[in-house]
Amino acid sequence: MNLFLDATRAVLIFGAIMTLVPMLVLAERRVSALIQNRVGPNRVGPMGLLQPLADVLKLLFKEEITPARSDRVLYTLGPLLAFAPAALAFAVIPVGRGLEVAEISFGALFVITATSLGVYGISFGGWASNSKYSLLGALRSSAQIISYEIAMGLALVSVLMTAGTLNLSEIVVRQSHLFEWNIFRQPLAFIIFYTAAFAENNRLPFDLPECETELVGGYHTEYSSMKFAMYFLGEYIAMIVMSAFTVSLFLGGWNPGFALPEGALWTAVSVGVFSVKLLAVLFFYIWVRWTLPRFRYDQLMQLGWKGLVPLALANIVITGIIVTLWDSLTGS
C-alpha cells in the first residue's frame, strides 16, 4: 500500500513536470515576444495555447541524423543522461505539506548531486558528435558547471548551517513564518545560489555551452529529432528542478508565510502556494534571459572564481560566527 502511494506520487509529480515543460516553452516564447514588442506564437489553438503540441509533433516527425564518425553509444547516452538526473532530483522536493516522493535525510545534497550529473550528458553529447562546435560547447559546459557548482555548494552550506539539517522537507518546515524564510536569513547566499543556478542550467547570461552566435548550437549542434528534444526537455526540467530547489531552500517552499492549519484542504493550499512560487521563480529565469547579454568566457570565470566563491566563503565564516554566538547566547 505504501509502495503504491509512493508510485502514485512519483507518477503525478513526474507528469506535472512533463506538462509544465511545454507550457514553459510557450511562456518563454510569449514573454520574449512581449519584451521585444512582438506578439509571439498566437495562431495554434486559442491564444496559441496549442503551440507546444505543434512543436512536439514537429520534433517527432523530424529526421533522426547520426553523424557518420560519431561514437554511437555515447551519442545515444548523452541526451538520456541530460534528461534522467534532472528528473531524478525532483524526487526529494516537497511540493506540498508532506508531499514528496521520498523524504531522505540528505535531500539537499541529493538534489545538488543529481543536477550536477547533467553535465555528463552535455559532455558525452559534445564529445560523441565528433564536431568542433559540439566539443567546444561540451568543454565550456564542464568548466562552467564545475566552477559554479563550488559557489553553489558553498552558498548551500551556509543555508544548511542556519537550518541545521540536510533534510529538504525539514528545511521547508523550519521556514513556516515569513521572516524565517532563508532569503531573509541568508540574502547573500540567495544571490550567490541563484546566480550559480543560472550557470548550472546553462541559461543566459551564462549559456556559453550553447552559445548560438559562436558555436551554432554548442553541444547539441549535431542532434536532431527526439534526441534533440531530450536535450531540450532535460534543460527545461533542470530549470524547473533548480527553481523548485531554490523555492524550497530560500523562499519557504510550500509555506505561505504563516503557520498552516491542519487539514487536507490546507495541504492543497500548500501545493498551490508552492506552484505560485515556482512559477514566479521560473518567470524570473525567462525575464533575465531576455534582458541580459551573454558573458564572455573569461568574464564568466572571473565572476565565478573571483566573485561568487570568495563571497560564499566569507558568508560561511560570518554565518558560522553568528550561529555559534546565537547558540551560546540562547544556551542551546
Binding site: 514573454v31 512581449l34 519584451i35 521585444q36 514588442n37 512582438r38 506578439v39 525575464w287 533575465v288 531576455w290 534582458t291 541580459l292 568574464q299 572571473q302 565572476l303 566573485g307
Partner: protein, 171 residues
C-alpha cells in the same frame, strides 16, 4: 630603407598580464559593479513586458490587418478601360519595347471601332519575370496600363502567374 615601426597596440597574442591597460587596484573590481545596471535592464524589459511608458506592440498581424501602402507603390498591373468600357490599349507595343524584363507579350488585331486602328488580341504579363519597375506605365501614350497597390502576388502554379488580358482588365 624604412625600419618597421613598433605597433601602437599590443599584438593579439599578448598575455593579459602584459597588457599595460589592465585595470589595477580598485578598478579591477569595477567589473562587479554592474548589478545596478542589471536591475535597470530588468526594469526596462519589464516595462516593455507590461507595455507601460508608451511601449507598444509593433507586429502587424498580416492576413487580418494589412499594412497601409505608401503613395507611389508599384504592385500588380492593371489595364484601364475608357468611358464606354473598352480597353484603352491601342496595341502600340511601347510597353513591350521598353520593358527591361521582357515580360510583356502583345498580339495585335484590327479594332472594330473607328477611333483607333488596333487593339490587343492577346496582352500577357509574365509576373514571374516582371521587376515592377513601372516603365510600361511611363511609356504608355494612352495611359492604358498602370501599376496598382496590390502586393500579395500569390498563386499555386507557374501557369497562374502569366496574367492575361481579362485578368489585367479586372485587376
Amino acid at each position: 630603407m624604412k625600419t618597421p615601426s613598433t605597433p601602437a597596440t599590443p599584438p593579439a597574442n599578448a598575455r593579459a598580464v602584459d597588457n599595460p591597460e589592465r585595470p589595477t587596484g580598485w578598478a579591477k573590481w569595477k567589473f562587479f559593479l554592474y548589478i545596478p545596471a542589471v536591475l535597470k535592464g530588468l526594469s526596462n524589459t519589464f516595462l516593455h513586458l507590461i507595455k507601460a511608458k508608451g511601449h507598444k506592440t509593433f507586429t502587424i498581424q498580416y492576413p487580418e490587418v494589412k499594412r497601409p501602402v505608401r503613395p507611389g507603390y508599384r504592385g500588380e498591373h492593371r489595364l484601364k478601360k475608357d468611358a464606354q468600357g473598352r480597353e484603352k490599349c491601342v496595341a502600340c507595343f511601347m510597353c513591350q519595347t521598353v520593358c527591361p524584363a521582357l515580360c510583356i507579350r502583345i498580339v495585335a488585331e484590327e479594332a472594330p471601332w473607328n477611333d483607333r486602328d488596333k487593339r490587343p488580341k492577346i496582352f500577357e504579363i509574365d509576373m514571374l519575370r516582371c521587376i515592377y519597375c513601372g516603365m510600361c506605365e511611363e511609356a504608355c501614350p494612352c495611359d492604358a496600363i498602370e501599376l496598382t497597390e496590390k502586393f500579395n502576388v500569390v498563386s499555386t502554379s507557374r501557369a497562374e502567374k502569366i496574367y492575361d488580358k481579362e485578368k489585367l482588365l479586372s485587376n
